[in-house]
């Protein structure tokens, strides 16, 4: 597979380490009253869709950036990739 790195262009997926669903960007509020439940969902439960999936890849053998990649889990087609820092900043901005 090729991962379209937003800064470096297409790179072989072998340079990357995969983590999983990009919902891992949304760490729950540790101080909320239902924090344990929220963390259990966050850590363990996954949509695991057959289709479009937002997921986290780490360019471990490259620039060490974390990317949010949008990929179809049935066809493996990659629909886009963003730097996780950009995604987080955009989230913070809204």
């Amino acid at each position: 597979m090729l991962i379209p790195h937003p800064l470096l262009g297409p790179r072989d997926a072998q340079e990357f380490t995969y983590l999983g669903d990009a919902s891992l960007l949304s760490r729950p509020d540790p101080d909320a009253p239902d924090a344990v439940d929220a963390f259990c969902d966050y850590v363990f439960l996954r949509d695991n869709p057959a289709g479009v999936h937002k997921e986290l890849w780490y360019h471990e053998q490259g620039d060490r950036s974390w990317l949010v990649v949008i990929r179809n889990t049935v066809t493996h087609e990659v629909l886009g990739a963003e730097l996780a820092t950009d995604v987080m900043r955009a989230k913070g901005a809204t």
């Binding site: 090729l2 540790p30 924090a35 344990v36 259990c40 850590v43 986290l56 493996h76 730097l83």
Partner: protein, 976 residues
């Protein structure tokens, strides 16, 4: 013997080879198959199940019969297609899968027992008596099965790998591929043209046709010359594209040009923006009774042998030749052979309206209904209506039409669809960017192939946004092929569908009778298509026969998809070469060469090589050495390279706040010049790493990780920094390799170190336990000093630039000689830390909690950190197992890591299992073996006796539970 005139062989270059020990001669340009035919050798092997005598049937990589073992000794290569081996001087080939000589295979008795060996028979029998399956039946089956044999020795050859990134990859250098390469090459894009054959040209080399009045081989030569002159075109003959992977990545294997020079094979990973599949087509046969005899070939293959290699498959030059066909292409073979003066006496054509195209007899509406000749075809029975006649016949060409080679197009599991006009499967949903051209797209005539090659190249260039040059196509044969749907000749005898695996029409019938009709069940029940040709010569025919049996159409019956690899690929090349000591790179510590020179014994620690112990003359057992090293540290001073621990530089205004979230305990409060021990949890609340964190300056920390987790910790810190808290000002970089870190441990360590430091006060007051500093040593070498201890003794870790590790180690030995300074390795390190009750990877397994280490209180409830919330789950809170120490009740008894712990009179089963021993060693300090381990309610069981059970090795040892700290439990020594 049966060599004709002409052909593309070099008669000035004779080559000697042997087959089954007998010497033969062929020419450069021959394949092993053509050379065998040239020498009249027709019987080359035995089939898989019935051990039927078999000859070569094809001229390409689909060959199901002509599998031989090449070479001998460690270079012995089984299951090699004789059709794909370019002949070379000294080639040695042997037939395989027979007991006794090829002509008198003892296993041929299986053929007589054929009625017993029907499809799926083994699922129905060998069940009684129970023990006999493994002891008797299965060993017998295993011996009989298999094809060739491995040598059992390591493969001595070199392999290589590489990466290409063309704009356009063209697979197959026949008419379509060549013209596509020419267009793309002229357009100036980067082109790779790969073909499995040693000689490019595809079927153009096998047909006797002309292009623009130029003989096809000459036209090919002209195109290749132009392509070779273009710097942007790379020609790769002998290169099989075997797999299509995601996003335009292809796997390809290039055979070495010379069997004796350079890598035997090279694995290429080709990342192409566009690709053209011009892989041609594979001819199919028509099952009829006893259709598997040597001398029965695919008709197109016969044409290739005659035109390209100037041979025929005759046993003797007088052998008469016939063709059995359901289409026009069979007639082309008859014509070609007649043109070469060969004794073609008949074409048997299933079509009632068939006409001769030349000077031979055509039996229209007829079939070949049986054959004779066990080791080589002697006669055929032709049936026309209800009249059957036997004819003397030495060679039979069979043409059942052509299957486009859509294999690569279905590697993404796209299913080919049935084309009722062309009577073949064509690819419908090929992977993105893959254009199909030529016979692979059902465009079989030369003219059609050229046209479709050109249009595929145009499409590829357009997608690339490149201007398409003008090109005129050469004039070429455009005869359309007429074909009729005729799939097999019904018979009461066996008619082979899958030649290698011995699947016959009868087996298909039986599968149908047993409700194994869905195509995937059919294949698995009968082993159809599971042979080395992956069904290339059998699957479509079988589908058609099954359709007939079920009364369905072929599309209703199913389709067939193909999986990588296109043709079998050697494991040697897929392994990529370096699989011995260079299988994985290794990391050497900065003092490796120093230790090596001192005779250290090394041990693998993950990627690292570490000094395990340093034997000295007179020591006869490693324990002797390790005891000495450990004792030296307890009594004097020892030095040990600890560079392998991961080091991460953490800098930035928010570095402290960041580390508070990374570590379970407080870290942000750490003052410059101080070091603190820390625990890292996963977000699920489990402990996964521990180490120290040193604050070198305001906003500048060095995090130390365990050797094993150095990469993982950095990855998770990057995740925290980029994905969880990007607002924090923090930057991370690994410095593991930058510093040689040397532990100087023991009561005399301060004294030794004092001789090194430049103007630095090492006194306990000025530089207490858990202090750190940047300083210089040995007159100006920059260094860092940490007062931390893994051994429990007064100890330091000294870091110097890695280049100087070697020199510092040597200097420490020199300067400390009077103090008895002793280098120690990982074994002694292990002893010292077990004696002190420090955890390592044996204890921190990813299944443990901070509480299990007795460090539950370190997980701060006052702040958020990774894993803090989840560490409060019921299962983690209720965990009662704790790390404790063990000594054997009888001091002479061993303590063994991996033993399970039981109350003395409890039954030894899982229900009563209380824990296990994690680490064990002989402790010179205690004077017996000792262990660490986790045991239920371990916090308050000191003094209790338990059984360490190791039934695996027949041990049951009485143990006493102690504190995990065997040495200086109050920690006075390290603060001294």
């Amino acid at each position: 013997m049966t060599r004709l005139s002409g052909g593309l062989i070099d008669r000035s270059a004779p080559l000697n080879f042997t087959f089954n020990g007998k010497s033969y001669q062929g020419f450069a340009g021959d394949t092993l198959a053509s050379a065998l035919f040239a020498n009249g050798v027709r019987l080359v092997g035995r089939s898989f199940k019935y051990h039927r005598p078999r000859g070569i049937v094809s001229a390409g990589s689909e060959e199901p019969n002509g599998l031989v073992t090449l070479g001998h000794g460690a270079r012995q290569t089984p299951n090699t297609r004789a059709t794909m081996v370019p002949l070379f001087e000294g080639l040695e080939a042997r037939s395989q899968n027979h007991i006794g000589p090829l002509g008198f295979d003892m296993m041929a008795v299986n053929d007589l027992a054929a009625p017993l060996l029907s499809a799926g028979f083994y699922y129905k029998t060998f069940m009684w008596p129970k023990a006999f399956w493994e002891k008797l039946y299965e060993p017998a089956i295993r011996r009989a099965a298999g094809l060739g044999a491995l040598s059992g020795q390591p493969d001595p050859d070199e392999y290589d790998r590489g990466y290409l990134h063309p704009d356009v990859l063209i697979i197959g250098a026949g008419a379509a591929g060549l013209i596509a390469a020419l267009l793309a090459g002229r357009a100036g894009v980067d082109v790779v043209l790969a073909d499995e054959d040693a000689r490019m040209g595809g079927r153009l080399l096998a047909e006797g046709g002309v292009l623009n009045d130029t003989p096809a081989p000459d036209w090919v030569a002209g195109v290749l010359a132009e392509l070779a002159s273009l710097p942007n075109v790379r020609l790769m003959p002998r290169t099989t594209v075997f797999g299509v992977y995601d996003h335009g990545i292809f796997g390809a294997v290039e055979q070495g040009a010379d069997p004796l020079i350079g890598p035997r094979e090279t694995l290429w990973r080709i990342t192409a923006k566009q690709a053209i599949l011009a892989s041609g087509a594979t001819e199919r046969h028509i099952p009829f009774a006893n259709n598997d005899r040597p001398g029965i070939l695919l008709s197109g293959a016969m044409r290739a042998y005659a035109n390209r290699w100037a041979v025929t498959p005759q046993g003797a030059a007088t052998d008469r030749i016939a063709i059995f066909t359901n289409n026009d292409d069979g007639h082309r073979t008859a014509l070609a052979l007649r043109a070469l003066g060969q004794p073609v006496f008949a074409v048997i054509d299933t079509r009632n309206d068939a006409r001769s195209l030349g000077d031979y007899t055509t039996h229209e509406g007829a079939v070949v209904s049986d054959t004779m000749g066990r080791k080589g075809l002697r006669a055929i029975e032709v049936t026309q209506g209800d009249r059957s006649t036997w004819y003397e016949c030495g060679v039979l060409g069979v043409s059942g039409g052509w299957n486009p080679n859509v294999h690569l197009a279905s590697h993404h599991r796209g299913r080919p669809h049935w084309d009722e006009n062309r009577l073949c499967f064509l690819s419908e949903d090929a992977p993105q960017g893959l254009h199909i051209a030529g016979a692979a797209a059902g465009q079989g005539s030369t003219e059609a192939a050229l046209k479709s090659g050109l249009s595929a190249a145009r499409a590829a260039l357009k997608t690339l946004g490149v201007k398409v040059p003008r090109m005129t196509l050469p004039q070429a044969n455009s005869e359309p092929d007429q074909i009729s749907a005729f799939w097999h000749v019904p018979s009461r005898s066996r008619a082979w569908v899958d030649l290698q695996n011995d699947v016959t029409v009868k087996d298909l019938k039986l599968a149908h009778q047993e409700n194994m009709a869905p195509v995937e069940h059919l294949k698995r029940w009968t082993t159809l298509g599971m042979a080395t040709d992956q069904g290339k010569t059998a699957n479509v025919t079988a589908l058609a026969v099954m359709a007939e049996l079920t009364g369905k159409t072929i599309p209703e019956t199913g389709t067939t998809i193909f999986r990588p690899p296109y043709t079998p690929v050697s494991l040697g090349v897929l392994g990529g070469g370096d699989t011995g000591v260079h299988f994985r790179p290794r990391r050497l510590t900065p003092t490796h060469h120093w230790a090596d020179a001192r005779g250290a014994v090394f041990v693998e620690a993950g990627a690292w090589m570490r000094a395990q112990y340093y034997p000295t003359p007179g020591e006869t057992h490693w324990r002797e050495t390790v005891d000495r090293e450990a004792a030296a540290v307890r009594a004097g001073v020892g030095i040990c390279d600890v560079t392998t621990l991961g080091k991460i530089d953490v800098q930035g205004a928010d570095a402290g706040a960041f580390l508070d979230r990374i570590y379970a305990n407080m870290m942000g409060t750490l003052k410059p010049g101080k070091v603190r021990y820390g625990l890292m949890l996963r977000e699920d609340g489990q402990l996964y790493d521990d180490g120290t964190c040193a604050c070198l300056a305001e906003g500048h920390y060095v995090v130390t990780t365990t050797t094993a987790n150095a990469g993982l910790v950095l990855q998770r810190m990057e995740f925290a920094s980029q994905c969880l808290w990007p607002e924090l000002d923090v930057s991370l970089i690994s410095t593991t390799d930058a510093w040689a870190q040397i532990a100087i441990a023991g009561p005399k360590s301060r004294e030794l170190l004092a001789r090194f430091v430049d103007d630095f006060d090492l006194s306990n007051d000025a530089f207490p336990f858990m202090g750190c500093a940047a300083l210089t040593i040995c007159k100006g070498l920059r260094a860092r000093l940490f007062r931390i201890s893994f051994s429990g003794e007064l100890a330091y870790e000294l870091a110097v630039p890695a280049r100087y590790g070697h020199a510092v180690m040597a200097r420490l030995m020199e300067e400390g000689a009077d103090l008895g300074v002793t280098p120690y390795g990982t074994e002694a390190l292990g002893v010292l830390r077990i004696e002190k009750g420090h955890a390592t990877a044996n204890e921190i397994t990813g299944q443990t909690t901070a509480a299990m280490l007795g460090l539950g209180r370190m997980v701060s409830a006052k702040k958020d950190s990774i894993g803090a919330v989840m560490s409060r789950r019921e299962g983690l809170v209720d965990e009662t197992r704790r790390l404790v120490g063990f000594v054997p009740v009888d001091a002479d008894d061993p303590v063994v890591a991996g033993a399970h712990l039981f109350a003395p009179d409890a039954p030894q089963d899982l229900a009563h299992d209380q824990g296990w021993i994690t680490s064990a060693c002989y402790s010179p300090h205690v004077g017996s073996m000792i262990g660490l381990g986790y045991i239920e309610s371990g916090a308050d069981r000191t003094g209790e006796e338990v059984i360490a059970a190791n039934p695996l090795e027949g041990q049951h040892i009485r143990m006493k539970i102690t504190s995990a700290h065997f040495v200086d439990p109050e920690g006075e020594r390290l603060r001294d």
